[in-house]
């Protein structure tokens, strides 16, 4: 009698004491975890430390440049003031160039690619795969620097911002992004719009574009970052003397190599050169800092998007 009563009690106790779903982490696992967390923290330090160390120069007095570790050793706003003064006309000229280039390319490129992606996303588009191949081939093969350089030369566009703008508009990666998104727009909505008498143009601008705003957001974001930071095209098309047509990143690159020469006759410039350079670098990344919260949103949504799929 006793045995039959006792047995369920024992199993019950065992179940509560040793839950098989909760296996205790072994020592080696805990060590690995600790190592990986400390490695990640090391990476974070490796990224933050040089940046803080460098950008502190922008707010520092030149005599105390060697005292900087993580923040300005002696606060001095002269470098920043210099960048905002009339002496830095070329800097602001190239800043304006970058703004113009970025705005035009972001608007035109994404509009044009989205428009091309719209018919390609439809199953009944004539010669769909052929047209798609026509765009994808340009991703696979390019003839190199010389032909495009000579083409721009024959258009008389060398040393103007238009060469950079025109070469950057075609963007097949974004086209494919748009295409995949448009394919997932429910066809019922489009059919309803057709019944209501919408023309293809109305359909695109009134229905497809408003629905695709998140994709437009991320495509525009990547175009903005690429155009603001990149100067591969400028290296090819813009002469190192053509200051009036330089995008900002390229101007900063040129001024780094020519910076020393300008300091010959100017004591202030000679002393403050590293500080002024740091200040102009800092100002050049402000537009990126402004849109960086978008990256954070993108990272978060990208990370959760993956988990929804699974």
């Amino acid at each position: 009698m006793n045995k039959t009563i006792d047995q369920p009690n024992i199993t019950k106790r065992r179940l509560f004491k040793k839950n098989p779903n909760k296996i205790k982490e072994t020592l080696s696992d805990r060590i690995i975890h600790a190592v990986s967390v400390s490695l990640l923290i090391f990476f974070v330090i490796l990224i933050v430390f040089p940046l803080l160390n460098y950008f502190s120069l922008a707010f520092n007095n030149y005599a105390f440049n060697d005292k900087i570790i993580l923040w300005p050793a002696k606060l001095d706003l002269a470098p920043i003031k210099y960048v905002f003064s009339a002496n830095s006309k070329d800097f602001w000229r190239s800043f304006l160039n970058s703004v113009i280039i970025t705005l035009i390319v972001t608007f035109v490129s994404n509009l044009v690619e989205a428009m091309a992606a719209y018919p390609l996303s439809k199953k009944n588009c004539p010669f769909r795969s052929g047209i798609l191949m026509f765009f994808i081939i340009t991703m696979l093969f390019s003839a190199g620097v010389v032909p495009i350089y000579l083409l721009m030369r024959s258009f008389n566009l060398l040393n103007t911002i238009w060469s950079i703008i025109l070469i950057s508009i075609s963007n097949v990666t974004n086209l494919l992004f748009f295409k995949t998104f448009f394919e997932n727009v429910p066809s019922e909505i489009q059919e309803a719009a057709i019944i209501d008498g919408a023309s293809p143009l109305q359909m695109f601008f009134r229905i497809i574009v408003p629905m695709a705003l998140p994709v437009f957001g991320s495509c525009c974001f990547f175009t903005i970052v690429g155009m603001w930071n990149g100067y591969g095209a400028a290296l090819i098309f813009i002469n190192s003397e053509a200051t009036e047509a330089m995008p900002l990143a390229y101007y900063l690159y040129i001024s780094l190599t020519n910076g020393q020469a300008a300091t010959m006759y100017d004591d202030f410039l000679r002393n403050y050169l590293p500080n002024i350079q740091a200040a102009s670098m800092l100002i050049s990344i402000i537009p990126i800092l402004i849109i960086y919260p978008y990256v954070i949103k993108y990272i978060k949504s990208g990370a959760t998007l993956g988990s929804v799929k699974g």
């Binding site: 990224i47 018919p119 093969f141 390019s142 190199g144 990208g302």
Partner: protein, 334 residues
């Protein structure tokens, strides 16, 4: 044999039938949806003018040096093409010593990248996904993505300043360690430094794709692996990496296709024009100098020939890498 032929006959007619059906639907589609094709016109125009017309520049590679001199005198392209003769000599002359040196350097830099930087992104993603504190892992992710959004000018200038023996923190430490002797870290270790900078800029952002892929793996796999007694390293090698194999294969193929290039922007910044060292010479820099450089060695014909070579090698590497990954990992670009 007989059986095979029997099988072949209906197959062939079916193919023909399918092809006829395809053209019939295309014709119908064209009839019904002609207006929709107008949407493609602007993008197609840009693609034709700035991608397809330059492809005819392949022709420059088959011209003799008279083309160069005509272009330098300011002739237009058609005129220079008429003025010069067709030849295959250029393709013999481009494979000289400086070409092999630059090819070797480019491939070496990319190999170092492949061995150290490529796994680093995967490692970061795995580590981040294993963290228990989700908020902290997001914060780390946000911070390590920052360098990707800075321009190369800022990245290289910040690091050279960091290495500076007078004002940089690391430079001061290094010069103290060597008793004030100025170290030229630059010349001895151009390639490792080059790869380090590109890792510093891109590894964090590169891990995002893997991180999203890992997050989409079903959590129950991990639970059952834990019950079976797998430790973290085993789980990473036998569960996570096979599960994100598709993403890895994709990135690998993309990397292969760019194996002859190293990134001109970064290279130009790290170059010291007054202090030329051999390890600086890479293929895209060599082509750049040949086509747009200020020196006397400018040769459009040679640069065009090298451009053709570069483009073809890139295409072959892409197709080959894709074939390789489809065969071994069963995943590819298409």
């Amino acid at each position: 044999m007989e059986q095979n032929e029997e099988l072949l006959v209906p197959k062939n007619t079916e193919k023909k039938k399918r092809r006829r059906k395809y053209w019939e639907t295309q014709r119908l589609n064209l009839k019904r949806n002609k207006s929709i094709l107008w949407f493609i016109v602007p993008a197609a125009l840009f693609t034709i003018v700035f991608s397809y017309i330059p492809m005819f520049g392949v022709l420059f590679a088959f011209k003799d040096p008279a083309f160069d001199s005509a272009m330098r005198r300011g002739a237009d392209i058609i005129g220079a093409l008429k003025y010069s003769n067709w030849t295959l000599e250029t393709f013999k002359s481009i494979f000289n010593d400086s070409f092999w040196l630059s090819l070797k350097n480019s491939v070496l830099i990319n190999l170092i990248k492949l061995v150290f930087v490529f796994p680093l992104s995967i490692l970061i993603a795995i580590q981040l996904s294993e963290m228990k504190n989700q908020k902290l892992s997001k914060l780390i992710l946000i911070i390590i993505c920052i360098p990707n959004f800075l321009s190369w000018t800022v990245v290289i200038k910040a690091w050279t300043s960091f290495f500076d023996p007078d004002i940089g923190f690391l430079g001061k430490l290094l010069s103290k360690a060597t008793n004030g002797e100025i170290i030229s870290y630059y010349e001895a270790s151009f390639k490792p430094l080059f790869v380090f900078y590109s890792a510093w800029k891109g590894a964090g952002w590169g891990s995002i794709l893997y991180y999203a892929a890992i997050m989409s793996i079903d959590k129950s796999y991990y639970e059952s692996a834990t019950i079976e007694g797998a430790n973290k390293i085993q789980k990473a090698f036998y569960l996570t990496i096979p599960a994100i194999g598709g993403t890895i294969a994709l990135m690998l193929v993309m990397m292969f296709s760019g194996f002859t290039g190293v990134g001109l922007e970064q290279l130009k910044l790290m170059l010291d024009p007054t202090n030329y060292i051999e390890s600086q010479q890479t293929l895209d820099y060599y082509i750049y100098e040949l086509s747009i450089g200020q020196g006397a060695g400018v040769s459009y014909v040679q640069a065009a020939a090298l451009g053709v070579f570069n483009g073809l090698v890139g295409l072959l590497l892409l197709l080959g890498g894709n074939a390789l990954t489809t065969k071994t990992l069963k995943r590819g670009l298409w």
